[in-house]
Amino acid sequence: MIDSLVGLAILFPIITGLIWLLIENHKARSGVIYVTAAVLIISSIFFLRQGSLPIEYSPPPRWEWVILVANYAILAFFIFAAVKDIVQRGVSRHNILTIALTVAAGIPLAVFEFAQAPHTPLEVAPTLYIDHLSVIMCLIISIIGSLICIYAIRYMRDHEEHRIHLGELKVTTQPRFFFFMLIFLGAMNGLVFSNSLIWLAFFWEVTTLACWGLIRHDEEPQHIDNAFRALWMCLIGSVGFGLAIVLLWNSPLNTISLAEVVSNGALASPFLLLPFALLCLAGFTKAAQLPVQSWLLGAMVAPTPVSALLHSSTMVNAGVYLVLRIAPGFQGTNLSTLIAIYGGAVFLFTAIIAISQSEGKRVLAYSTIGNLGLIILCAGINTPLSIAVGIMLLIFHAISKGLLFLCAGAIEHHIWSRNIEDMEGIARKLPILTGITIAAMLSMLVAPFGVLITKWGAMEAASGIGAWSTLVLVLLMLGSGATTVFWAKWIGRFLCQSPMPGRAKREPLIPLYHGILLILIAFAVVFSILIAPVYNSVIAPSLTEAGYNAALAFSTGTGFLKSPVGIFAAWPIFIIITLALLIPTLTTRAKPEESRSSYMCGENVELGVDEFVAVADERTELKTGGFYIENTLGEGNLNRFVVPTGIVLLVILFVLAVI
């Protein structure tokens, strides 16, 4: 049973990805996506229904050889791709660094596997270790990831039609696109199941490969550059991964089993600090934390379903998953303290920079980096409560951010722009889509939604755990304020409109857009209301498995969420606030005769015309705009400070790990 489930979760999407490269018929190919989605979703639910978590499972030894060969094949492919790029487009920083870092990542791995390991390939018992945390990840990957793939069927059709229309494209490149999308899902499932660090490193590389393939999909020079940037930045993490494996093997523990390493803990075995710091580095680069946040921003050039996938269910989640996974190992150390401060700094800086961004997808990207910083902050605080909050945020962020990117993509395909200024007043043209988008933004922002519940939890977790928590709290509160501003002003742009005669018409419903969006918003609502049962059924067990005392995290009497220091009456708040918002929204409609033009000192032209009368009775257009405070808070200004801060914090992290 378990071997077939593992096979379905990891291998099935990889096989269907390969099938995509072979078959031509469009209907059949869409069918393949639906089947893959169904299989992934069902198998992930079966994992949850397995009574006997955690599961230890080692596939037959021949798979070790497959992993070994495939791992070096991927590294060789990276070098091949970079060399090809040098030949085609000349030497650049990106392709040179790709080659250098691929070699640097390959060397420690090869030293370990061929020189140090007693036999090649080395088997680790168990190769796969599937506990509740893995299953939570598997559910996120399989359900949200699959929904994004289904949405992409329609999106890529529109996307290619548009590009053919512009003359940028002649033959469809969808097979390559869906090949990478599908193997991404399989590799992520493999990554969260792996206990052998060799397997983990392999799946880590596959996700890097898939990410590279998806970012460069449209093959404009900018896309190719950004893909290589993502590649080499993620390879920094791979170098760290390789070094960590060598160090762990040569340490007194003499193991590369993740569970064994984590259960030993750096407090008892200080030699584990450096490997943990290296693994965190790998996690940080994957999660696009400072100072390598630019790869995720560059990835915005890719088609929007790619962004949705990278930000919600794959790639960056692998980074924070790894940090949460190894968090019990560095509990109680200074390393943990610094990780909390680092996460807080990322949360604050990205929230401030996001205020200055006028491109919608970049705002979303900064918000992702910030929320991942918040998860890392929770991992660093490292109490049962904070880890529970971190896992919750991982779930809620995946739902809301996947949804927001899909909304952004659907809006983009109506207005053919990603600029927030072009979204002024689209609530009138696309009422349903805008309504869902605003709901999704509110789900990131305000009570009673899950993301806010996790902010509440993080604040309560960070209070009273030592003098250093003061700094973490300040970063957290300031970041929280800045977050509110960039969401609220964006919502304002959607709604900004003058009263027009006549009723607004609803946009035509597109099943693969609106349907998927409605499913995801339903998830955001249902999970927020049912946060207490969700906590009990999956999060509390994963805390216990990681060695935390779940009784010190949350208790859930009467469906409320009680932390040791506070209480969140989740469902009553949900009902009250929903009524407070929905009743006026649905019942109040201004009558046509109540409509007035906005105040222009009496110089308006007439109702429904956005013009005013200027000098010599000339009619002048009335324009409004958003605010971005670009001069003060823009990337150009702040990155000079933010990037060095990120580097300094990482250096301190390693200094702490070494001494």
Binding site: S463, V474, M477, A488, C496, I567, A569, P584, Y599, T624
Partner: protein, 289 residues
């Protein structure tokens, strides 16, 4: 405290808060007038004003404006109810923030330069005070062993002696939330300025009345939070003195200051306000307070 008693106090709070808020507004106008050498309107003028506003013909200048006027007051009243039920202080604040956000979002949903201007500035005000207010919950929780407001009542000791630094920071918040000079950047009392009426420019009649009412609730809630600093012991009435005293300081500061720029406000709030609370947290963590 029995559940029935708590629910009773929530009902009383919802009824009494606007009466207190309106009265304070009236006294505010009277005192301000006296400070400026004028006689000023009768003390219950704000009630006359609001009744008149409710009677006016509704007018709307943008699609979503109405919903946000209702949501503004509904959410702030919800926050007052949760406060009276002695819930988690952070939760009360989060609901209050959501309510406060409805005001700028409502302003931004009208295509009007003045309203947009005010909405943007309102968001910056929000950015200035939200972190201080959230952070202020931390020292209270550290002292009383948890975030529920009920804890403060069970604590047995007044908070002010240990948390006076936080209290000073909260006075900055109070000035911003009451839109008093030097922090009245999102809308001014006097319409003949570059802002016109800023964030409420496009609200009129009954909808303006709703917003005014919401402001009364908001002010009373904030004053109640200040009152929490001396709410137990034999001298419980000191909490009322403290709340009213803070309110009076605001009037005084308002009258001796001019409106300042948003960047000054943000620097002052994040610099002085946040540092003060952070210092207090640090002192508690180090066992000095």
């Amino acid at each position: 405290m029995s559940t029935g008693w708590l629910i009773g106090s929530a009902v009383i709070a919802v009824i009494v808060a606007p009466l207190i808020g309106g009265l304070l507004r009236g006294i505010d106008r009277k005192l301000t007038a006296h400070m400026q050498g004028r006689i000023g309107p009768p003390i219950i003028q704000p009630f006359y004003d609001i009744i008149k506003l409710f009677g006016k013909k509704p007018m709307v200048a943008g699609g979503a404006q109405l919903a946000f006027a209702y949501a503004f007051i509904a959410l702030i009243v919800t926050a007052v109810v949760f406060f009276a039920l002695r819930q988690d202080l952070l939760v009360v604040l989060f609901i209050l923030f959501f309510g406060s956000l409805c005001l700028p979002i409502g302003a931004l949903s009208v295509k009007s330069p003045y309203s947009q201007f005010g909405g943007h500035r309102e968001l910056l005000q929000f950015l200035a005070y939200e972190p201080i207010l959230l952070l202020a919950a931390i020292p209270i929780a550290l002292k009383t062993g948890g975030f529920p407001i009920a804890n403060i009542f069970e604590h047995g000791q007044p908070l002010l002696p240990d948390l006076w630094i936080t209290f000073i920071a909260l006075l900055i918040v109070l000035a911003i939330v009451m839109r008093k000079s030097p922090f009245d950047i999102s809308g001014s009392e006097h319409a003949h300025q570059e802002l016109v009426r800023g964030v409420v420019t496009e609200y009129s009649g009954p909808y303006l009345a709703l917003i005014e009412l919401g402001h009364w609730y908001e002010m009373v809630l904030l004053l109640s939070i200040l009152g929490l600093f001396w709410v137990v012991g034999g001298l419980w009435w000191l909490s009322i003195i403290i709340a009213l005293g803070s309110w009076f300081i605001m009037l005084f500061v308002d009258n001796i200051n001019a409106r300042l720029t948003w960047s000054w406000m943000l620097k002052f709030a994040w610099g002085a306000g946040v540092s003060l609370v952070a210092l207090n947290i640090l002192f508690i963590n180090l066992g000095w307070m």
